[in-house]
Symmetry: D2
């Protein structure tokens, strides 16, 4: 049922990979999009406006769940991985006292107008954010075969950046895996298997549909923002469970962790698989605690990343609104 | 009908203001919130979940209008005002070739995994963004009397920051003023008056309601992103027209300009008035061209700024979905 | 013999300090400069060109010791103190491949010209650097009574910034305290006393002179750049030993640590004392290992911080050149 | 007489260059260093400590000329070229009022200790700075054949960065070309020819020697810091005049402009030639006005760039001290 990408196993001919692996090795490769050689959206091409209307009309309480964390100096993030990414930083560019000393003239206003301005530096993968399809690829290529040599500038890619991700208004599904397992938080490096997911769906009484945004809760946010506890060895899905979710309709895979997948990454990386082989974006560092507490497993999911041109990721503040049960006329659930 | 703040004219006692103005001068002052001394939300306290449900259930086509501009190096912004704000900047923190040279080890994955990461610096008032209530005040105080001496840190305010702005799901109204005036774009420094707004509402057949997000189109985006044409002397609303809009139900004032109000600012600044006297946020640099082209004047408006803790502004990617006509049972329109 | 600043004990009248300390408390205060109310240089006013010539003419070997550490991502610094300072960061703004993708046109040159550019973010107190006199003061005032309310902008001070520090060419003295003590490195939080300094001078056969730049080695650089070992609880001088050094001619106090003084700071902070009471800058994170290894205790010291306008500190790359023994006609050593 | 690099004309085989130029084209290539395949210093290998001593002993007045401009928000720089480099920016990371609001605890000190800290962002080519040998090359290679594919990380090069440039203490020569020409400032895009240089040397009564740092004044600093006048179409030397200077002993070429060479660059770029073919660094944005005013044409030149690891450039604050005439025993001047 799922929208499948043409994904082939190919024999790598580059000298480098010949040196790095047995010459008989077969590797996964980036997918050609079924939506054409210029496609930068991937599976999000398949979302329809009918789906958006249908899900919004099922909104019941009007209660809005905010799925984003705050951004603040000291928040856990890529900087904690020791690879040299800058941490989140914010500073004041204007305060009334500074403006007075600098003899600046804000453009008009009353004499006692008091202006405050600030600025930030951050990784595009800070806080709750989308990963774009150009975040990770294989070798020199990303999703749909776009090559770094042709499309990677010093200010981001010219292909498949965060600016190309359309707004998502679709059904969202929370998979509260620790609730299924009877724990507060999944253990470090725990692999969320397909069986775990099926068990959770069953327990929650939910079936996946094409177009679902699937958010996997690991409970990791219960130790947020303690970077030492939060960052290393995250629990998460595997390539197998990611494949099962996408095959059953997921158009977005999200989690309450920095990486969605289990870390350290397995050889079969979920990131690379989702982006480069399936055309599926990830949503990371989502705040799922409120949904879980209220046992809201099905909701209207509304999200759109900042349109940072060419960026490999972008912050977002996704919203979730609980739904009333679907009527019999609702779209038929996917075969599971 | 509107939710009014207790806003008083007071005699300023500070020595500074005594020096700056005749001792008999009366000045506008920051408002005390009717929602209590700890209130940081302002008028957004008044939005109800019933309003959110009602508006979502009127969504008709499912077509989603994206009201955000892209973020890119060279985009117009505060940096063009010459007050020393940093321009938008993005750079690559990781590329596969760099990672190889630096002998970094991303946490696992296949040998040919290719990782791309980037980071940004920007003013919090970059691109499409909310202005928080702490952006501008009078003297040492902002909305609800919060004082800089008590609440302004080097990393933003501890009060009324962007992180405190709740998600907005409410009715949105586009006021296409240049269409009313029969021009492509309002002239430089044009004052959008109450009469202009009333004329536009009338022409569009729309009446304001409590809870509306009102977006004023000036046509300025027709010269975007030419900073020399876009930035100086923006057209926009005045304190009078802002007051009329808020009095008639607006809980958010937005525009397709950097400042919403006419620039240079009049002595009676809309920014200061909206934030400090009325508890109303602004939405700036909104992309309204698609709504205008399709004559979509009434829509579900969905927006939530990034939760940058304490920040005076925050980027957002607002969405608009056209509505079908309201049924007779719909909330009674405000008296205009 | 020393150049003394007019430094008075005053009764603080602010309500805050009344609450924080017994009302009978007397506190040290910022000094008025003997060089006048506009003076921003402090004790460096007293250096003469004759001293510079005299010391350069005693340069013997021409060997140049480089007293600066490198700047690199991950280097220890203020960011390690957990107060939210940004760490050192460097990135490429242009590479040939990026320029090609972005279709940029560097201004001319041959078709295969390959341009590489980079940019940095850092605290002004990164790596080997001067502390300016405006780095630390008491209450609202810094050295010479300059008040933050009048002179502190959002882009640094308009008084006593790094740009005001003149180039120093003077005699430098290394005090190798761990060599005196027979240890590799002084223990954590060790207080370098006046006795330690006198003992070291005696052991090294050196006497202080007016105009000396005095560099105190603690051995801390033997654990550089291990931030966990380097940063917490640095050994260093005390107010008493700082006073003795300044009284005996030191016009600059430097060390191979982040803070020169013992940390955590004593109530009588060396920083505040040196800047605000004596008009003496500090030199921090100096690389003294090569001088110590070669037992070079007396040298021509040449240093000038980057002229970062208004900044509280600025990087520098100081040099040291060994001297031959002074002739009998040399300036008479200070009385010790 | 000069230290020559083995510089060959080669036939480029890359497909790209075949497409870009006639297949019969011959191009300049990067040089192999005579100092070996690992050499990253270039011609600075040839400076001797004897030269440093000799020049310092000729220092006469002790007067120190500061050859650096200030760094400030709004200063002209690469950002003005429109290629997306970040402008210089400085901000406060700590102020006493902010620290109090944030409840931070600087490590100890008295209760009224007032701490001010700041941070900066800048291109490494901001203000007075060295260009490193890795700043510009040909094709994929820089000086001494170092290849970007092997040595270019995301945090700078691992070869020939600013950290590898040794301190320079040598004779400096000012060439006041506008004085020779009888103008205040050379015209836009003026080419400083070998004849201009010879005429200036003759008028000034100076002969070049091996080891000289040669600083070419164009008078451009007379319009500093007006970016519109300063930046476009700088006057400067040509490949021919650069070659003549290096052939006659120059180990550093500096100027009072952003690019030392005439802009727009000629096909035969001085940058590429100096770095990649001759192993000679550049010094840019030097402040030469004071030397010129005082007619100081010969001086001890002391400079060392910040050791920014791997960087393509680095700020510096060079110093110049006038010399007394050389004695007959002085090193023999180069044959010119």
């Amino acid at each position: 049922m799922s929208t499948h990408y043409v994904c082939t196993l190919v024999f790598r001919v580059s000298l480098l990979s010949c040196l790095l692996r047995p010459t008989t090795a077969l590797a996964a490769d980036v997918a050609k999009s079924p939506h054409g050689p210029d496609d930068e959206l991937g599976v999000l091409n398949t979302l329809t406006t009918a789906q958006s209307v249908a899900v919004l009309q099922r909104v019941s309480s009007g209660k809005v769940y905010d799925l984003s964390v705050e951004y603040f100096v000291g928040m856990p993030g890529l900087a904690d991985l020791g690879m040299g990414d800058p941490p989140y930083h914010i500073w004041m560019t204007h305060t009334p006292s500074g403006i007075k000393v600098e003899k600046l003239s804000p453009a008009g206003g009353p004499p006692d107008l008091a202006l405050y301005d600030d600025a930030v530096t951050m990784s595009t993968h800070s806080g709750t954010h989308f990963d774009s399809l150009n975040h990770i690829g294989y070798g020199d290529r990303i999703f749909n075969g776009f090559e770094a040599t042709r499309y990677l500038g010093n200010k981001g890619w010219t292909k498949a950046g965060a600016d190309k991700i359309p707004p998502l208004i679709t059904r969202g599904i929370l998979l509260d895996v620790p609730a299924t397992k009877g724990v507060t938080m999944l253990p470090d490096a725990y692999e969320v298997t397909t069986a775990d997911i099926q068990q959770t769906l069953s327990k929650q009484g939910v079936r996946l549909q094409p177009g679902d945004a699937v958010l996997i809760r690991t409970g990791r946010m219960t130790v947020w923002p303690d970077a030492k506890k939060f960052v290393p060895n995250e629990p998460g899905i595997t390539r197998d469970s990611a494949a099962w979710l996408i095959d059953h309709g997921a158009v977005l895979l999200g989690a309450d962790t920095m990486g969605v997948e289990k870390f350290p990454m397995a050889k079969e990386s979920v990131h690379a698989y989702a982006f480069a082989e399936r055309g599926v974006c990830l949503l990371e560092l989502a705040w799922l605690e409120d949904l879980a507490k209220d046992k809201v497993y099905e909701f209207a999911f509304i999200a759109a990343p900042l349109k940072l041109r060419g960026a490999t990721g972008a912050p977002t503040r996704p919203l979730a609104l609980p739904l009333r049960p679907a009527t019999p006329a609702a779209p038929k659930a996917a075969d599971q």
